[in-house]
Symmetry: C2
Amino acid sequence: MPVYKAPVEDVMFLLNDVFPIERYNNLPGFADATSDTVEAILAEGAKLCEEVFAPLNLSGDQEGCTRNPDGSVTTPKGFKEAYEAYAAGGWMGLAAPDEFGGQGLPSVLNTIMQEFVSSSNLALGMYPGLTQGAIAALIVHGTEEQKKTYLPKMIEGTWTGTMNLTEPHCGTDLGLLKTKAVPNGDGSYAISGTKIFISAGEHDMAENIVHLVLARIEGAPAGTKGISLFVVPKVLVNQDGSLGERNGVSCGSLEHKMGIHGNATCVMNYDGARGWLVGEANRGLNAMFVMMNEARLAVGVQGLAQSEVAYQNAVAYAKDRLQGRSLTGAKFPDKPADPIIVHPDVRRTLMSIKAFNEAGRAFIVWTGLNNDIAHRSSDEAQRQVAEDYMGLMTPVAKGVLTDLGFDNAVKAQQMFGGHGYIEEWGMSQFVRDARIAMIYEGANGIQAMDLVGRKLGKDGGRAVMTFFNEVGAFCQENAGDESLKPYIAPLQQGLGHLQQATMWFMQNAMAKPDNAGAGATDYMHLFGLVVLGYMWARMAKAAQAKKAQGNGVAEKMDAKLLTGRFFMERLMPETATRLALITTGADTTMAMPVEAF
Amino acid sequence: MPVYKAPVEDVMFLLNDVFPIERYNNLPGFADATSDTVEAILAEGAKLCEEVFAPLNLSGDQEGCTRNPDGSVTTPKGFKEAYEAYAAGGWMGLAAPDEFGGQGLPSVLNTIMQEFVSSSNLALGMYPGLTQGAIAALIVHGTEEQKKTYLPKMIEGTWTGTMNLTEPHCGTDLGLLKTKAVPNGDGSYAISGTKIFISAGEHDMAENIVHLVLARIEGAPAGTKGISLFVVPKVLVNQDGSLGERNGVSCGSLEHKMGIHGNATCVMNYDGARGWLVGEANRGLNAMFVMMNEARLAVGVQGLAQSEVAYQNAVAYAKDRLQGRSLTGAKFPDKPADPIIVHPDVRRTLMSIKAFNEAGRAFIVWTGLNNDIAHRSSDEAQRQVAEDYMGLMTPVAKGVLTDLGFDNAVKAQQMFGGHGYIEEWGMSQFVRDARIAMIYEGANGIQAMDLVGRKLGKDGGRAVMTFFNEVGAFCQENAGDESLKPYIAPLQQGLGHLQQATMWFMQNAMAKPDNAGAGATDYMHLFGLVVLGYMWARMAKAAQAKKAQGNGVAEKMDAKLLTGRFFMERLMPETATRLALITTGADTTMAMPVEAF
């Protein structure tokens, strides 16, 4: 059975030393989030994930979900009870407003908890995860009545939520969607159409399921400007809040997927189901984007989470599996062979995953804090900086953390040799589960286009310039610190490559947009490396400071500093190649006649 | 249902124009292999793969193999008949000696056929694939009687073969193996022990299964020097060649694997089974290596094969799926959206797979020809060069083609968006099947160590120096050809990086072997890029020449030349990063205390 231990200590280093959470105590909800309280909360969350969620991961994969003849869906054994434990612990509303039953704590804590949940059981974690996305959309765009009707039940976990975008002929290109909404005359609409790939679309965990559905009001303009968002409960809600009759929505079938078998991925049939408009008519994409941005960040976290749990298991195996001898002579001559962690290629692999995980975690914590500022700060200027940051970093977090998270799961699986290919060891599941994160909530190619095509040029490049200035200033401020040189110098070089790539787009992509398209994925990864490198530089600085204080943390901080050096030596150099690829432009990419492929 | 068309035309370009097969007609078996004959043979092979093997791929994955209560194993519906069609077509013995019923044709044709077979149905192709490996080992190391007993039946396909190396506690480190062989006093041995991960270990396709088994003769020295190879038939063979009683070997269980579900991966229990020594006592690894080297090359081919079939399906989808509009304006304004092949990121992805596939195919053809020279040439000097080449390139072909083959299957799957994650589309299977090729026949980290630790320094570096000289000479000879500049210049740069890396190992790895271990995987990939780049340079030269001849091939040759330029611009630049990583050395990789992982 795979192992999992939530990295609470690593998170506390980030929240105490790298991005001290106490600096944010002027934000609503942060006053209660002292370091001690946060640690206690996370310890509770870790316990739930380690003891309840993780033990159901492999069995949930093997059992999968079942659609019964009546259209109901049974989730794997133990999932319902685990979900109830999650709900009972108040985790659904950890960062939700008090007025609807939430705890109002910083949303960064929820982001951190999402990592633990996704590491321990991604398929199970998606049920509350999607609910949180739906909650976020209703908070921003719902009417007061909708909020009152749905939010308390969703926050207490009695009802869950979903997002319904995709149709058989349209995924990325939502302008093509056909699901129809016809006014019933009573303020509600009759929703008809078929949605596919609806995660948690039907299941046995909750009394009701609140579907947020994109549809086109009869007579609305074609394309994306004619799409509206509706709330469509599985069971209609009476005036007094009690459950009424079943609505005209049902699960037509379950998809057979490569992974996340424990999550019910449904084809949902809407057959004149009653729904109510959320936000303005024809502005549905706008409303859905609130949910989608939350979800994209959460998916980035899933990528990191799979990398982390795969790493932990690969380390355990590498310490245990005896095979061959160290190149520098037997390390355990009394044993029949050395543990494989003595082999440089094994170590290199483990170190590169570790170096990614710790920087990725810093990235999501830093992003989570910015998310809180963007939503909670009363200082408009500060809020704008944070919003800019979120816009810029959401595609980077989603695209880079999931691409590398998957690669790392594959690398970790490789450490097991043939055993990695056998399902009972659990490594195959991490790979199969991690694979979806590169696809859903906008395939990573779309994230790259979002970054390059939309986010870079937005507001005259304000967001990206702010980021470049921040990293540049950090490098300059610390240039004199000899002990930080192994971090600052490579970061500066990487930043230089990123700036050159950005400049190249400015000079070459305006007249010829294909140049942006052909370089977008490389640019996203170049960007990601600079972000992760910046995270390492900040962690190194904090680690040096912490080490200087003594307190017996020298060994831990040395490990941190060493891992950061490994990142700079072994992962950061890729920025040069990425720049080289970007600046080749689109010519050879676009020249091939379609029939010659 | 996924599509597959065997790339016969591309192969014929290689055999007619790049590595003209007619130049080899002094080798045994090549006189009959005229271009026309070869094309006719491959067209037959293509037909079998496209029409019989491919249609069973998805169903075989979904059905898998079943172990029955009596220990027999049932393969998926249709597999037995497809295998019989393969055997009846004479494919098993395509390159095997006439005296045992083979066709004696060049083994490069078998290598090419392995690509088609592995693309169309990897799990099914493994049954004959392993048999061919066992045939190769028996030809080299079997006694005359063993050859007479087993080879004709195996070559006609009535019996299949397996290789039994791995035990629960030993995979890479075969020195640890425990399976025992006790002399029976009649020339046979009683073999006892448990072998795991035995592909095609038990099935319903053949009358008998010929297991080649590594075991330790009672009293043999510990470690790898006490291992012997035995032939252990599932059913004992009578003096007259008829089948006798069942031997003491059986399938204890089937593994639940991530992929290749149609292949029976068995735990094999040997319970005093009668076996006969193959080759010398205690020299079993030597004998097994014949089989293993064949198998490693075949596994490299599997990596390419999965990349090819995944590519073909991604292209078909990208031409068909309508989503979004071209960045340069609608290409199909009459349709609701453009096919996604208009998008630069999609094209970049498809081009990079195509650029790999065509070079990978050249690599295996070139290697296949060298394999023929090594085995068939009467010129000792020529044979030695080819043997050197095979020793050097086997780990590169296995490691690089399978790593990149898997990556490409993942990229191709990504083109499908959410549909790529749904099993019915078949893309998940290509990824899951491709994954094993990175693991079996020596995990790719082992291939890298074999290359760096054994092959580089062998015979004073003779093989690697010959290769460097060959590529260097090719560059020099063609330096004056302006039309080849886009290929030669990047290749020269890549070769320079590879030579620098090699030099760095010579200077830094003797005293500190960890420096070799920590850089081995990067070195293997750097090596692979130079090999593939060299293949492209040779193909470009041949394409220019062919284009100059006219004959209406200009469009095809232009596509070839463009794909090669893409390779040079978009894949080759990675050599710089690989060199940078190698020369960082092992310090940060090895410094972490084990408990800090």
